[in-house]
Amino acid sequence: MINAQMEIILTVCLTAIACAIPGVFLIFRKMSAYSCDINHSVLLGIVAAFFFVQWIDSPAIVFSAGIVAIVAVLFVEKINKTRLAKKDAIAGIVHPFMLSAAVIIISMFASRVSIDIDAALLGELAFTPLNRLQIMGYNLGPMALWQIGGLALLNIIFTFIFYKELKLSIFDSGFATTAGFAPKWIIYGLMVMVSFTSVAAFEVAGSIMTAGFIIGPAVIASYFTKRFRNLFFIAPAVGVISCLLGYKSAYLFGISIAGMIMTVMGAIFFLTFLFVPGMGVVAKTINKIKLKMEFSINILLVHLWQHEILGDSARKNSVDSVSVYLNWKSDFTESIIKQSMNEQLLGLNTEGVLFLLPNGKIRAQNILER
């Protein structure tokens, strides 16, 4: 049983790695919708491919389902190009159509076959060790592990070889064209990669989770680095961490592994979204408040400086009048004055009038000179 657990963990981690890599390209191509297109057509692809191959769980079905998924995406693209309907509206009708068509075909013609609808939507990791790859009587481990592992390897190789071309095509496809790199074909290559990965991941994670496996780690990783290359290390790492934590909690509570992994990934996303240094919501809000504070101090300093020169400081620069003249709320004004005093920028004389200390004068002058 320990062995089976290891196999499950390994399979799901490889799924995360295989999915995270194309995900990085998709989010920066503003093509996250592609992964949705593909994920919704994958089930239809598998069902359609099943009628040709008749042997579920075979690499052949991954291949043919991948092709069907690509055709479906191209079909959606073609509808988009006619501009007779809005892109997201088309996705809204075509996705449910493809998914429900697949479900209907399964329940009508293939109810005896082991495509279970629950498993199709959410995947069933716990069963992956049951279906094993056997060659010449040797038991080589779970089929899913070999499939997704192979795809992870292919994705890594493809990305490694065409890294420069992929980066350029995604960043600036016009420039890629003029530099002679045929970005259209590179992007098709990327779509093939997403498509096959989705089909292989489908068995592990189901059609809906796969989208999360593809997009999630990439989005989370993009909060941690400003170097494109680093994303290809961070995103798979995020995926693997989510898998390990998700598996552990699923094991503890005895619930769906894939579901728990996505929950963990969602939690990681919200945590980074809120708390990541520099780019998170909290950091941005704090920074915004700081900047506002600083700017308000600048306004106050310039105001004081101006009126010290004009010589009407007794009237304009007294503690009480500042908030009236600047049209600030009195407690806000108070906090700004206190902050400036703490920074040794201004002082208060016995008549209750604010005056600039040398530091404050220098700062006010610098501001006005800029």
Binding site: K30, K167, D172, G174, S222, K226, F228
Partner: protein, 289 residues
């Protein structure tokens, strides 16, 4: 009556070859020329039957009102849009295999500036075309990129993420990327859009250096007032070709009226003032001597 529309195949080939040879000889000193070029979007022509030439070694402005097809012309030359009719030749040969001679500077808005790459990375992209498929940039490419960054005074920003730069700085690294390409022809789409005065000077000086080194530069330009000052050659477009040639011959009251319609009166007046200023300066300099 029996009208014969087409001559025999052999005769046609011979004709074609004779014409091609003549054209070739005539255009030895031409960097890019288009003939009967029509480009349309959904059957709505953006360019109508354009015949034009960009001579070698000029600094050319492509001017015309909004929607005149200036950007479309560049995109057609670069193969980014497909012409509905006509030919484009680069250094006397069909454009398809000649595009490696061209460096292109798109409008700044064409790029996702949030993309996580550094300034140096972006400039390095200019070396990709000479590297070809799969090969990675090496230390020589890196040196080239750094040199180009120095040329536009941006070397100290090399490690910054491109989104952290100001509009002017972004335009300068765009220019640096084009410089790295070692091209013979530079096509630029509004390089002065949204940049400050100092950057405008840096850019135009770089372009002049390029021209003085024998390169050909064509720039989509919107500011009629600076055309005479910056450029020596001009192409005036408004879907159709209005005029082309040395700036002074192109920017006449009549041509501007043709291109801009009634709206041109203000602009052309500005133009006469500008050229007047230039003339005055010239006479003043003569007096100094």
């Amino acid at each position: 009556m029996n009208i014969k529309l087409f001559t025999g195949k052999k005769q046609r080939h011979a004709n074609k070859r004779a014409v091609t040879m003549l054209e070739y000889l005539r255009r030895l000193d031409v960097a890019i020329h288009t003939e009967d070029l029509t480009v349309a979007y959904n059957n709505e022509p953006a360019l109508w039957d354009i015949d034009m030439e960009i001579p070698k070694g000029v600094l050319m402005a492509i001017i015309g009102p909004n929607g005149a097809g200036k950007t479309t012309l560049l995109e057609a030359i670069l193969g980014l849009v497909k012409p509905n009719a006509g030919h484009i030749h680069i250094f006397g040969k069909p454009s398809k295999k000649q595009r490696k001679f061209i460096a292109y500077l798109p409008q700044r808005t064409n790029v996702d500036w949030d993309f996580p790459i550094s300034v140096l990375d972006m400039v390095l992209m200019g070396t990709y075309s000479s590297l070809g498929w799969i090969m990675r940039p090496n230390s020589a490419s890196r040196r080239k990129a750094l040199n180009a960054l120095k040329m536009v005074d941006m070397d100290e920003f090399k490690d910054m993420q491109i989104g952290e730069l100001s509009a002017s700085q972004q335009q300068k690294i765009f220019l640096a990327r084009a410089l790295v390409q070692d091209a013979d022809v530079f096509l630029m789409d509004e390089p002065f859009q949204g940049v400050d005065q100092a950057t405008e000077k840096t850019i135009i000086n770089t372009l002049r250096t390029l021209r003085d080194n024998g390169k050909t530069v064509a720039v989509v330009h919107y500011d009629l007032q600076t055309v005479t000052e910056y450029f020596d050659w001009a192409l005036l477009l408004n879907v159709r070709r209005i005029a082309a040639g040395p700036v002074k011959e192109v920017l006449t009251e009549e041509n501007l009226h043709l291109a801009y319609g009634g709206k041109s009166s203000f602009l052309s007046m500005e133009h006469t003032i500008t050229s007047g200023r230039v003339k005055n300066q010239a006479t003043a300099e003569k007096k100094d001597v």
